[in-house]
Symmetry: C2
Subunit: 330 residues, 2 copies
């Protein structure tokens, strides 16, 4: 059977451009014992993908090799199987790649529980939700009554962080890049405040929203929000560094804040990435499923149509053009 | 009995200048029950004093009030006493202030064990030694075989950090501001390498001294060393932020490094100050005394003569002019 896949054939200089990719037609191979064939239905697009395209000795997982199908997470349906653990008709979640079909032996693939929509899985129970839970609960160790600021709060990770924090009894302030997103954070997700980071009075608005200062900062962006929140940190504040999306499309890294307040306020600034914490995922899925079933977590999917829409569509993540978790429906 | 003391009468703009102080003659009051009279013999001069002179709502201990005797740690001999716990002839250590004599009721004062020279107490068993131990052992949590860089390594804190780290089996690299200090670190204190941070090839020399990268950075300076070491940090590296002495005499805070490597390398950057950890001091004094008795900790005192020498002398800390722990002998 013929299907379409997209290979990475060139590494980005700064921006992600169509010439980095090659759309190819491939044929599904016959299945061996233990293998099964997945027809991908929902493919996740995430900011981390840009890092995976780069040849970077410092990165926490190896880059995608040139000529390989581009890496991504996703969900699909099993349409043929020689593996009794993965029967035809079941849904699976895992690293699927930019492809309509793929063959798997089950390694790294998980069955999706019945009754949970595929969008909910990608929005809440996949990498972004796990990242949110790990960063907030295990790195930040929040206490009820504390104040947290989340940057890129309308994004796939940030929207989960803010809702978990609300469920845990924190005062939650989000920043986002449009008034519409801010409205959604407050009206639909229950954030206590949301601030458009493009506002000229960002610093004053943040200070007004956090009259008792900021105990926790979940860093997804860098840039102006980083500096504004850093000023407001309380003694013994914790900063969980998850993403620096405002820096991913620049050649010159932006300067960080001076370190004197780290001493005066005894701050802890900690970076984390999920590959160090894969062993905790089953427990975190359980915790997130509980929030989901209690109605404490809402999600919004931003769906593109068809595999090839990923090529231009991924840039929505870097322009802030997506409203909700970006994914491709196939 | 008349004695000399030095009051803080003006706050510094940038530098510490003689007009900030007033030298006064005072008279010792008669002792009440429970009080005793201390004749100070050794007075400590520390970089933190500059912070204590500043009116700063963010600081971890309140500033010295204008008109009060300047704050400092020190050691003295009890010359009169109405407190049986603090007999005449005993030595005590505590916050003495810039004064020849002071009256105490014992609060915050500790008897100095016999047989340990007063210089050793100020160099090893006072605030700098405690700061070194707390930052390295409790914040940094080093493992034998790891590589640590210590900035201001010839200073009162840094020289202790490096020696504790050597005693714990680490590879120890120090930075200092003169070749003489670097020589002392390697030849006398047993550092594996020491680099003059004023060298034009600082980055290359650091990289050569740390062929396996840097696991721990004990930050005393900020500035060029901060940026050079930050580049070399290994995955899961820890940075203990203790001081930023290169920033204490500037009006414009220097920029910190960009935060992207904090994510990629899952770094932890943690500030600490001793007032949060006073409860651990008895245990830390015990640990440091053990190193001292085993000959694993050496020290070097840089002594000035007479109380009034503190006024100009304190600036040696900011020019790097001191060789060893700066103190005043009275």
């Amino acid at each position: 059977m013929e299907y379409t896949a997209i290979k990475l054939v060139k590494r980005p200089e700064i921006a992600i451009t169509p010439d980095l990719f090659e759309v190819v037609r491939l044929e599904t191979p016959p299945l061996e014992d233990g293998q099964f064939l997945i027809k991908q239905t929902h493919m996740s697009l995430d900011p981390a993908m840009k890092g995976w395209m780069m040849p970077d000795r410092d990165s926490y997982i190896p880059p995608v090799e040139l000529g390989d199908v581009m890496r991504s997470g996703g969900i699909g349906e099993i349409v043929d199987s020689k593996n009794s653990g993965f029967p035809i008709g079941a849904r699976v979640q895992g690293l699927t790649g930019w492809t309509e079909y793929l063959v798997s032996n089950g390694q790294g693939m998980n069955l999706v529980p019945e009754g949970i929509p595929s969008e909910a899985v990608l929005c809440v129970l996949a990498l972004p939700g796990m990242t949110a839970y790990q960063g907030l609960m295990n790195v930040g160790k929040p206490k009820a009554g504390e104040t947290i600021v989340v940057s890129a709060a309308a994004g796939s990770v940030g929207s989960m962080v803010g809702q978990i924090a609300k469920a845990e009894g924190l005062n939650v302030i989000g920043t986002a890049g449009t008034d519409e997103k801010c409205q959604w954070l407050v009206d639909d997700l229950g954030f206590d405040a949301a601030i458009n980071y493009k506002s000229e009075s960002l610093q004053a608005e943040l200070a007004a929203a956090a009259p008792n200062g900021v105990d926790l900062y979940f860093e997804n962006t860098g840039g102006v929000v980083q500096h504004a929140v850093f000023e407001l940190m309380n003694a013994h504040g914790r900063i969980m560094v998850c993403g620096m999306i405002s820096d991913y499309n620049t050649l010159t890294p932006s300067a960080g804040p001076n370190w004197v307040p780290i001493i005066k306020k005894r701050l802890t600034i900690q970076g984390f990435t999920m590959p160090d914490h894969y062993d905790k995922i089953p427990g975190m899925i359980q915790a997130m499923s509980k929030y989901l079933m209690e109605g404490k977590i809402k999600y919004r999917a931003h769906s593109l149509d068809g595999l090839e829409s990923a090529i231009d569509g991924i840039n929505l993540l870097f322009t802030g053009g997506n409203t909700g978790k970006l994914m491709v429906k196939l």
